[in-house]
């Protein structure tokens, strides 16, 4: 998938989805059992709860080639662990502020609540995100900052 980096003309976004096991993962399963088709660009990583998702994983994903990220879990009050998603929500509110302040493109991260019953919603979330990222293009800006030599490249 690396090869897609530069030739933006037929750019295929790389999306990683961090989802909780009880709501969104099950929602995605439902999308499957109801055969709802959506873009194949997304890779789902399963966590027990959105509360478990470390903010560093998002940065690392961007750094290693993700053009977009989806973070999704149970709707407020539906958390399997009662409050994991509330903690997560706080974390994302703060984190998003910080990223935005640093000029990191927060539009590349889709946050959503998708319940086990919302297979269709999951499909929409994925498709919307893929379209959005397709417009934004690959997130090379971020990856270029990886080291100074990459830095130099842009001035060549």
């Amino acid at each position: 998938m690396k090869d897609m980096e530069n030739k933006d003309n037929n750019f295929e976004p790389r999306i990683v989805a961090f989802v909780c096991n009880w709501c969104t993962y099950a929602g995605a399963d439902l999308a499957g059992t109801s055969r709802i088709k959506y873009a194949p660009n997304v890779r789902i990583v399963r966590f027990p709860c959105t509360g478990r998702i470390d903010f560093m994983l998002l940065l690392k994903a961007f750094g290693s080639g993700a053009d977009g990220i989806i973070v999704s879990g149970c709707h407020p009050n539906d958390c399997h662990y009662t409050s994991g998603n509330f903690h997560a929500r706080r974390r994302w509110i703060v984190f998003r502020n910080l990223l935005d302040f640093l000029g990191i493109d927060v539009n590349r991260i889709t946050f959503s609540w998708v319940s086990a019953a919302e297979g269709a919603k999951w499909a929409d979330i994925v498709n919307e995100t893929v379209d959005k990222i397709r417009k934004l293009g690959p997130y090379t800006e971020y990856r270029r900052a990886k080291d100074y030599t990459e830095e130099a490249k842009q001035y060549e």
Binding site: F55, L59, G63, F86, H87, L98, D105, A145, E151
Partner: protein
């Protein structure tokens, strides 16, 4: 109301402290000073120029020894101390605080409550320069902000002076040293530097007392204090004033956001 010198003496005599952390004249600025005997007391100074946040020493057990310790405490020191006690790093009866902004007028504080009321009684005047810079950066376009920070942080040499100067960076193993997984690349590069600062800011979220020690310590004068400052203001905006301490490990079902789909 009493002056620093006699307070210090009485601490050695009455309270049997065997160390007072304070300030002495330095070559350019006043510098932290460990006063271990009454003979050194005359060296102790306290005035507007003493702005090192000496609270950083409160968690350095090897420096403090076992006995009771006194510390000349400016507002920033007291604020840090409060947060430290909230985080179970210091206990009442371990320290005696000589609170004040000038040697001529200090008062002795021993327990959390009195420190709290002292802090409440001395609201901090927001630093207009910092506010300005914040607004300046906020007003930039996203791209410019990125360019700005990438440029600033590409200078970082990862000396971790910011970490060393911060009273609230007391972890025995910092996340920067964690290597499985290697969350943050150990070498200096714009991105890894940024990752380090993101971690610092996130770990400070709701805890930072805004003393600015990190910025003052930075050999390259990177405006990293703005990151924590920005978060603090956003936090009080989003979760209500007065909320502090453990913002990220608490929540309110009514927390508002506008970006969840």
């Amino acid at each position: 109301m009493s002056n620093l010198e006699e307070t210090a003496r009485s601490l050695f005599k009455e309270e049997k402290v065997n160390l007072i952390i304070g300030f002495e004249e330095g070559s350019r600025h006043p510098r932290p000073f460990f006063c271990t005997s009454t003979d050194d007391i005359p060296k102790l100074i306290l005035d507007k120029r003493c702005h090192n946040n000496t609270a950083v020493y409160l968690t350095k057990k090897d420096l403090l020894g076992t006995g009771l310790v006194g510390i000349v405490a400016t507002l920033r020191v007291l604020k840090s101390a409060l947060q430290l006690s909230l985080e179970n790093q210091i206990n009442e009866g371990q320290f005696i605080f000589i609170a004040g902004e000038d040697a001529s007028d200090v008062q002795v504080l021993k327990d959390k409550a009195s420190i709290q009321s002292y802090v409440d009684a001395h609201p901090e005047i927001p630093d207009s320069k910092v506010e300005e810079r914040l607004h300046h950066i906020e007003s930039m376009s996203r791209e410019d902000r990125w360019a700005f920070w990438k440029n600033e942080l590409s200078k970082c040499i990862r000396c971790y002076a910011c970490r060393a100067a911060c009273p609230l960076c007391y972890c025995e193993r910092c996340v920067a040293e964690v290597n499985c997984p290697q969350w943050i690349d150990p070498w200096a590069a714009p991105l890894s530097n940024m990752e380090w600062q993101v971690n610092r800011a996130m770990h400070m979220a709701g805890r930072c007392t805004g003393c600015g020690a990190c910025y003052e310590a930075c050999p390259l004068d990177l405006p990293i204090n703005l990151l924590t400052k920005e978060l603090s203001s956003e936090i009080s905006e989003d979760f209500g004033k007065g909320i502090s301490g453990n913002v990220l490990s608490s929540f309110n079902p009514a927390d508002k956001e506008n970006f969840f789909k």
